[in-house]
């Protein structure tokens, strides 16, 4: 019997325009907790999807218990013993705990559900996990941590041999994290292997045995946690010691907007938004301000709060010297604050409609003839201007925006926002999912515009004048981009404040 439970070798996965995984390898031994690490966009999620059977690799092999895996469907992979607990929960909120645990594999007697078996088994597994809820409680009434336990309980009842935990602690409090760690140790003691994806490096030290690091879709290194310092891991995650060409950096003086103590602790209905814990910052005229933070750090949430897309509980917003209350995106846009949203397809575009409609929608009031009608000539001229200025590649103005490439779609949204002549342009992950050439063009546009946004690290250092680091709904540091390095920023992004001090002391 081989030492390894799971071996991934040379796995490559391409998406249109991007290589998400490039000859990645990973080996997980029996009853080991294996950390899978990497920055956002390093390819972790793609690898998890391939392991769980949601997607298949283009080339490379995966062996599980010595047998090569083929094109099994997700539920077949689960029967083999590979169970994934995703970051976004897959529970049905209106069903009970017991029903959720056994969904799709309900115990039956004849043709009918065997409630007694289901309840007994659910109770048993809940006790194992120290989950103190009644099996008949509806899942929506549970806390996030309890929901996570239900997901893990489901994995246990599937007789999992390998459990993949995708950022299980992202939404948990410290006490809950401790409990989860105990469960992970118990599972390990029962001979179950775990792939543990996390951004909290302290956690890796606490519960993981081995780690594998991915970077830009490639294998970057692996090792025993015991023999490696956090510093070494960070260096593996960041990788290259590339010197970036800094553009001409602005030093904005005049403050356009100031946020003071923006706080929202309640959960937003129907979303996994991160709580904001008293965030304050200044936005100066003519500068590009970068917000550095991992997924779930609260960057997007803070920007959406400023834009009026989500409301917050306390905190003040000053705009051009006056205190303002922004209750909706409409009010933000009237002030001159415009957002390029994070999710281009869900939040930005009208995919079934023309470039024309997408680009001019908020500016139509300025393109009228006879008071009521859209002046098509003016409108066409405006689109043509932006097409030239932004080098948008499109056959004509009536083409359906969903047929354009990702980069060109993003440019259409940028053009739409620029047409409003904003005073503050908020850009959330402007280059996600677009190819390198288009990335460079989007960068240049933002430089020309001098705006602010959030993005990948090298992108931030290259692009911004000033960078603010964000972690768990708090602002953890600020520095001029001239002084920033990826390592410095990443430490601010992944370590808790007290860990940072300890860390500096150690150096």
């Amino acid at each position: 019997m081989s030492e390894f439970l799971l071996t991934v070798e040379g796995v490559t996965k391409r998406f249109p325009g991007v290589v998400a995984l490039d000859k990645v390898s990973l080996g997980v031994r029996r009853s080991e907790v294996h950390a899978l690490l990497g920055e956002n966009g390093a390819g972790k999620s793609t690898l998890l999807k391939i392991l769980s059977g949601a997607q298949y690799q283009d080339s490379g092999t995966i062996e599980f218990e010595g047998k090569p895996l083929g094109h099994e469907l997700p539920h077949q992979r689960q029967q083999l013993g590979i169970v994934t607990v995703y970051q976004e929960f897959t529970l049905m909120p209106n069903l009970s705990v017991a029903e959720n645990i056994f969904i799709g594999r309900e115990p039956v007697r004849g043709n009918f559900l065997s409630w007694s078996t289901m309840l007994r088994e659910a109770k048993k597994v809940a006790e194992k996990l120290d989950l103190r809820v009644k099996p008949l409680t509806s899942v929506y009434a549970l806390s996030v941590a309890e929901q996570q336990m239900v997901e893990i309980a489901r994995a246990l009842t599937m007789k999992a041999k390998l459990i993949i935990l995708d950022e299980p602690t992202a939404a948990l409090s410290d006490r809950e994290v401790g409990k989860l760690h105990q469960i992970v140790r118990d599972l390990k003691a029962q001979g179950i292997s775990i792939i543990y994806v996390t951004h909290r490096l302290a956690e890796v030290k606490q519960i993981c045995d081995c780690f594998t690091v991915l970077r830009d879709g490639q294998y970057a290194g692996e090792g025993q946690v015991a023999d490696t310092s956090i510093d070494q891991i960070v260096r593996l995650m960041v990788g290259r010691n590339v010197e970036y060409m800094h553009g001409e950096h602005h030093k904005g003086e005049e403050v356009v907007a100031r946020l003071e103590g923006i706080t929202r602790l309640k959960r937003l209905p129907g979303s996994q938004a991160v709580p904001l814990r008293g965030m304050s910052l200044e936005i100066r005229k003519g500068e590009i301000l970068g917000l550095a933070g991992l997924v779930g750090a609260g960057r997007t949430e803070l920007m959406r709060a400023l834009f009026g897309a989500d409301l917050f509980e306390s905190g003040k917003v000053y705009f051009e010297g006056r205190e303002v209350t922004i209750r909706s995106p409409n009010e933000a846009i009237e002030l001159g604050i415009v957002l390029v949203p994070e999710d281009r397809k869900q939040q930005g575009l009208f995919l079934a409609h023309s470039v024309r409609m997408n680009l001019t929608l908020p500016s139509l009031a300025k393109l009228l003839v006879c008071r009521f009608f859209i002046d098509r000539r003016k409108e066409s001229a405006l689109i043509e201007n932006f097409r030239k200025a932004l080098r948008i590649r499109m056959a004509n103005q009536e083409i359906v925006v969903g047929t354009l490439s990702g980069g060109n779609q993003q440019k259409v949204i940028l053009a739409r926002c620029m047409a409003l002549k904003p005073k503050i342009l908020i850009v959330d992950e402007p280059t996600r999912g677009i190819d390198i050439g288009a990335k460079a063009e989007v960068h240049q546009l933002l430089r020309e515009l001098a705006s602010n946004g959030t993005a990948e690290l090298p992108e931030l250092i290259l692009l911004c004048d000033r960078i603010i680091a964000v972690k768990e709904g708090r602002i953890t540091g600020e520095m001029p981009a001239m002084e920033a390095t990826e390592e410095k920023l990443l430490k601010l992004m992944v370590l808790a404040p007290h860990e940072q001090h300890a860390h500096i002391d150690a150096q």
């Binding site: 995106p329 995919l351 009608f373 859209i374």
Partner: protein, 347 residues
């Protein structure tokens, strides 16, 4: 010289020559072709079908549905639906008639033609469209403010307004309007029946609003992607509420015309109209998911139903069988539309 024409669509000049795509063509014009085929078929079966008189008959018959279908197109474009239009039609007609009924006793009373100096029709008309708009706006507001699906709000509205109509009319019709009033239902202008003219006006206005005004774009945007619309700065709730207001206005207008045509306002008027109206819009290619479709398709859909009903009657088809045919056609039309879209999506 004053130029007040709407700007002309210049889509044609940028279109490139491409190999002819049958599926795409049929998706766009399929229902229209089917309408033409039906007309030819019925014409060949019975020459009476193609007489000017019968064609005007068809148009007059569909004009009441058609006026409402224009409003329903807006509603469905935002991703909603309005089930209460038949009930609003009856309520408005009844209230309009009650307003000009001088006797105070609604029961089988005949309004006095001289009471308002021959302008009683105007009072009834204003009452109809005003009340319809208010009722529609209330439904829109309830739906957006309390986040209740329009389907539910208007399902409730359907019985509420019908009940209100019965209460106001005390269960019996108000009939016997003066000739000025009845002109709106059965008169004609330059040889064209008045209801047909009204249908034409409403259609043209609806078409122009949807294609050439910011409001029209907003309606498409809200139905296409409500969250993106909100983040683009559109006041989504206000736009959604307004389409129900417009729908109510047009249902009120339809109620006025219907009562003028029958010279009677009845509590059971417009019963089941909502389904015919929704069917016209959907057959015309407007997606129930919102964001896709338009007035042109709705007009074709409305005519298709009118031609079918009229043709089947002229051919003496069993009325029970007529219903079956219409049901099958609705499913086929929408089914083909979905098929064509999935074909294109796969390429």
């Amino acid at each position: 010289m004053a130029q007040t024409t709407a700007p002309i669509d210049k889509v044609v000049e940028v279109e490139k020559k491409q190999p002819f795509e049958w599926v795409a063509f049929l998706q766009k014009f399929g229902v229209f072709l089917f309408l033409i085929l039906l007309i030819i078929f019925f014409g060949s079966q019975n020459p009476r079908f193609l007489s000017i008189r019968n064609l005007f008959n068809i148009l007059t018959d569909v004009s009441i549905y058609g006026v409402m279908a224009v409003g329903m197109t807006l509603v469905i474009l935002t991703g909603g639906v309005d089930l209460s239009v038949g009930a609003i039609l009856a309520l408005c007609a009844m209230c309009g008639a009650a307003a000009i009924n001088g006797t105070g006793d609604t029961r089988s009373a005949t309004p006095d033609p001289h009471k308002f100096g021959g302008l009683s029709w105007l009072i009834a008309l204003l009452m109809c469209v005003g009340l319809g708009s208010v009722v529609g706006l209330i439904q829109g507001k309830v739906s957006t403010k309390f986040r209740i699906a329009p389907f539910i709000v208007t399902l409730g509205g359907m019985t509420v307004w019908r009940g209100a109509t019965l209460l106001i009319g005390e269960g019996s019709p108000i009939s016997g309007f003066d000739t000025n009033y009845c002109w709106w239902g059965s008169g004609s202008f330059l040889g064209v029946p008045v209801p047909v003219l009204l249908f034409l006006v409403v259609t043209v206005v609806g078409y122009v609003v949807l294609r050439y005004t910011p409001y029209g774009r907003h309606v498409y945007a809200v139905g296409g992607n409500a969250e993106a619309a909100r983040l683009t700065g559109l006041r989504v709730d206000r736009i959604v509420t307004s389409v129900y207001g417009i729908m109510g206005f047009l249902a009120g207008l339809a109620g006025f015309v219907q009562s003028a045509r029958l010279s009677s306002a009845e509590a059971t008027a417009g019963l089941g109209f909502e389904l015919t109206v929704i069917a016209s819009v959907v057959i015309g290619g407007t997606s129930l998911m919102g964001g896709v479709g338009g007035i042109a398709g709705t007009v074709v859909g409305t005519l298709l139903i009118g031609v079918l009903l009229n043709g089947l009657v002229i051919m003496n088809v069993n009325p029970y069988f007529q219903q079956i045919i219409i049901g099958v056609i609705i499913v086929l039309a929408v089914g083909f539309d979905t098929y064509a879209k999935s074909r294109r999506g796969r390429k």
